[in-house]
Symmetry: D2
Subunit: 384 residues, 4 copies
Amino acid sequence: MSSIWGKCIKISVFGESHGTAIGVVIDGLPPGIQLDKEEIQKEMDRRKPGLDTYSTPRKEGDMVDIVSGFFNGHTTGTPLCGIIRNIDKRSKDYDELKDIMRPGHADFAGRLRYNGYNDYRGGGHFSGRLTAPIVFAGAIATQYLRQQGITIGTHLLQVGRIEDTRVDLVNIQKEQLTNFRNMRFPVIDPKAAENMKMEIDNARMDQNSVGGMLETAIINLPAGLGSPMFESVESRLSAFVFSIPGVKGIDFGTGFGFASMCGSEGNDGFKALPLEGAPPNPMPNSTKTKDLESCPLLHTNHSGGINGGITNGMPVVFRTVFRPTPSIGRPQQALDMKTMKAKKYCIHGRHDPCIALRAVPVLDAAAALVVLDLVMKAKGHSRE
Amino acid sequence: MSSIWGKCIKISVFGESHGTAIGVVIDGLPPGIQLDKEEIQKEMDRRKPGLDTYSTPRKEGDMVDIVSGFFNGHTTGTPLCGIIRNIDKRSKDYDELKDIMRPGHADFAGRLRYNGYNDYRGGGHFSGRLTAPIVFAGAIATQYLRQQGITIGTHLLQVGRIEDTRVDLVNIQKEQLTNFRNMRFPVIDPKAAENMKMEIDNARMDQNSVGGMLETAIINLPAGLGSPMFESVESRLSAFVFSIPGVKGIDFGTGFGFASMCGSEGNDGFKALPLEGAPPNPMPNSTKTKDLESCPLLHTNHSGGINGGITNGMPVVFRTVFRPTPSIGRPQQALDMKTMKAKKYCIHGRHDPCIALRAVPVLDAAAALVVLDLVMKAKGHSRE
Amino acid sequence: MSSIWGKCIKISVFGESHGTAIGVVIDGLPPGIQLDKEEIQKEMDRRKPGLDTYSTPRKEGDMVDIVSGFFNGHTTGTPLCGIIRNIDKRSKDYDELKDIMRPGHADFAGRLRYNGYNDYRGGGHFSGRLTAPIVFAGAIATQYLRQQGITIGTHLLQVGRIEDTRVDLVNIQKEQLTNFRNMRFPVIDPKAAENMKMEIDNARMDQNSVGGMLETAIINLPAGLGSPMFESVESRLSAFVFSIPGVKGIDFGTGFGFASMCGSEGNDGFKALPLEGAPPNPMPNSTKTKDLESCPLLHTNHSGGINGGITNGMPVVFRTVFRPTPSIGRPQQALDMKTMKAKKYCIHGRHDPCIALRAVPVLDAAAALVVLDLVMKAKGHSRE
Amino acid sequence: MSSIWGKCIKISVFGESHGTAIGVVIDGLPPGIQLDKEEIQKEMDRRKPGLDTYSTPRKEGDMVDIVSGFFNGHTTGTPLCGIIRNIDKRSKDYDELKDIMRPGHADFAGRLRYNGYNDYRGGGHFSGRLTAPIVFAGAIATQYLRQQGITIGTHLLQVGRIEDTRVDLVNIQKEQLTNFRNMRFPVIDPKAAENMKMEIDNARMDQNSVGGMLETAIINLPAGLGSPMFESVESRLSAFVFSIPGVKGIDFGTGFGFASMCGSEGNDGFKALPLEGAPPNPMPNSTKTKDLESCPLLHTNHSGGINGGITNGMPVVFRTVFRPTPSIGRPQQALDMKTMKAKKYCIHGRHDPCIALRAVPVLDAAAALVVLDLVMKAKGHSRE
């Protein structure tokens, strides 16, 4: 369904930007995950608006209230529901929007989809605010995956015309990914951060916004996850990622670079397996050892860790592109549903000049949820 | 599940490259679709190998035998199963591959996934041959969609270093898309075709292969299809498209170009609605009229026809990138599972130097199946 | 997933008996259903405990807070979340139960399923209290179905040794079903009510409990809903009904009575169709007319309104059996997980002597949700 | 979808009674199951018609051709498709049925469901013949479950007025279940078999048919399978069982007998656990030992091995009721769609006087598929 996702675990996201509350039910979580609530809140804070001038000054105060599925410090295995109250909503800002369809927004498509009954205030269920429950669910998945030795991290690869360095597809260190999670502007090249900030500042001062690109890496994934065809790891990841408002493209490994490549270049050649003579194993512990991290199986990783839809033990790396925030102060060509005519319109209210920046923890969460689902499919629910 | 896809209609694909047969069960088709079997076969032939020197000389003879769900010239509404016998298989070519993991292929990942029990001959269930049943299912969907006025077409946007012109995102004519389906080298710029052929010829003579990019357009889609979040049209299309062997990236509308754009540029401004005063309607017939085709709702179409995951009545346009065929004659660094050591290996057998070319009808089929599913979700099964 | 149900609409139920809150997310509701909140609360009250001596004296105060998916008096079509706070919980009553597995309860099976991490207080997620969110979701479905002319009602067919009259399988009047909803002891034969009350009183005074049977009828269902095989109406209804704690059997129409019947008796013979010459139609309006109610299509209705898994336009009627409440005051043979030995144990706390009685509105809700899902599958989401 | 079932494994059934072929795709099977094809055929033969006078004299010759997913004697883990050609069809017998809706059959409901496009010959996709692919899929599941020590068996509990003894809910021996599979008339009381045969003979000679009831038992199931609410073991089993044509009721353990029971009687008291001090375990090997079979955990088994939707380690036992075959030679009140009037009609052709008898292996198959799905959910696909 529209706002329910998953196979072995399922999440059901609810809420509107200006309603009473938003939240998520997570069904099928493994029982016995010890949850560090502070760490969950830290993830929520990474997405939270209003931290500095690079994002919207609204204060959403994303405190999550866990009302079920959590007992004596651990997940119970039954549905876990987290609720976030909407407190700093200024619905008045949106009153005039009832019949004004903003360009680049879901207003028009949504109105047709829901026969005009959808909550239009602040985008309603289409709002980027709905990524908060996803970050919450992802934070729980992340704590489980850490016990399995799996690490995920995302950096800003591009903001407007400014590009960061790509990660090393073959050799990604855990420290790098952990650092990304602790940086306000997660980039590899510190200079890029400065220029990106300037790019965003300029857009804001110009009553405009700017697009961007993120790069996400997942390391220490066991080989053998996923399936051919419709449950390919790429299918699972892309389906989730395109649920995040503003995403318009995704590619894996060398991705769009493959178009102009030849096979002799793009095929990743094998090294020897680190443990010679080891029997092939769908979830070899060896892929989780420190040794393997510094001794990858393949010379290159154009495939981005996935062949035939299945993980091959190399880092899974993908890029996601975000459109510039559609909400800008400049006059734009909107549609007035009362007159059915185009109308010049300036969007007021407070908005992020670059949604890609705030989407960093959302990508981490999306990746964690997909990986958790794949791991549970392989391992079942009866083992921790 | 791995090889089952869909919500309102479902397809279940089976078979291995060198097994007895491959095929597909299509469940949930609307009853009463009048099927033109010749036209279905024509679609199969577009994908069929061995037509000329640009693709593999194997003769797969993709004749589909419909064994159920078809009665008196129409679909019955109960499961329709199409079976394709494997006739020109030379399994001997693959005998030595049992323990040789080829670079760029799913051999290694698949062996771990299936504990070594998967059929390794010709890639088994991972083979590109499994796209034949998808083309068959898509051909049926296409015949249904045509009655709804919806047209789909795909052209080669890039082969190696050669690029074709992009479609006009705002104004795509039905004739153009229909033409793509009748061309052996579907391109907009005839010169590009010549150069692409040369690029492929060079790769083949060089015992190499070359990557490529496709662009697919869907026109006359009613506005209001799809849903926010996990059933976004982008999520549905990308999940299917990444099931096609060799796809490593997808983007919609302006896609990756959004990264360096600003909002004032990327937001698609509204024109007046063609029928003034018309009540908003989730499936307005007006969007199917000739008038609307030449009188689109928006000035630009950077969004690729989708906002908030929902169609907005403009053409849906997306690009798909294909890696170069991993099977090449040159010596490569394979893995020998018996010794667990890397081993120089040359792939024999007959292979396409550019899978992107043969993937054109597969993309058309994928798009048709996704759109049919979205239309059925909106309209239900009780009306034709 | 365990607590997520549905195809076209989905409900995701969360909460534990003694946690902070319980609730439900309903995804995929048609937009624009005008909700009468008082009527919803009335349904909640039918299930609410503590109304009289025939049910548990706990006061659960089942006030539902709708936090999303509801705007300007109508459903929006985006996920609707209803939350019920747990207020009158006495968790102390359950402290000693941590390691005591009660007979007839899910304690032991649940402990193994969740590795001992589940919330054991009051049965946790296994509690009958989790039917409150189902009643809420069903009340919304019921308001939608009423607009379609579909009516549902349930009566107590048996309590202990006392039996009520069965409904007339062929001729069920709307008034009868509406009356069931307004009765505290919904029965056809008033005498049965008196005897049932006595049966329950006796059980309670005896520190015991008693089983029961319900009969549910759905009238004015359009013919042609459901599908053969795995989406048979019986499959859909039974799968939901067996999710209700305490249900151990279900049958349709003549049900178990068929075992000793012969075909000439059990086949329902046709009358003439009321509108002669009318073309067959998957959702004939004629089946909704008053005329048809008094002029059913078949002479008898042993099939309970379903043939080949599909509605035939006759009333759908099914019976559900409930085990006696496992919680009784008498000493029972429990299991002590600390010693792994059996142990005499008396259950304290407040419990219903007959859960079948309180399950009446739950059955109405279950039926309403299944029927809504079937209707949406047939009609799609784009029409009201 | 209508003819697709499953969570971890999925089966997709296709075909019509008088079409070219029927069959099934099984997706998600564990790789490496060694298949004994003779044993599979033996299961097919149990269901096959024409063995003696108690069933229809048609010869369906149910030879299954496995065309995928099977390699070197083992399942590959990729979709396994089995196809059964329809050879002894006499479609002429059904020509006059095009517009005649037979009582007790799905003709009328199906015609409305599929707008008149469904294949009406021999019931088309509604035919009992479609249980053949289910028996095939179940036979594969059975071979996997045997390795896990799980045994399933079904006997005729009732045919017309003749009843067999019930199984001992607490103490069911493996031998008894295995014997059921080798008997043409699987009953416990040999006298019952004789009387049942007479009952069927009488019905046939009388141009009539007779109903029946089956009882199915599953032993050595690990405790902890299933989930509360919508994935209760009862929900999963009943949803599948109601897909079998002719089933109109199901109950578990004491089932409908619970209605007149009190709690002190119906709660199953605990014995000591056989291995004292053993830690609770979701899939304890101890439940698979011979010891446990003769030393069950509970004194009684009214719950039929399931509490709160989850297995408790006791035998799972359920009863299924079948209506009498609707096809009988006697004149009946059919509906003529051309005149929209009722019409006396005698069904010709060859039919089983008691479908319950031939349904025995179908119930075994249904149970095996559901159990396999539950086991895979608990254990994942990465282990055998």
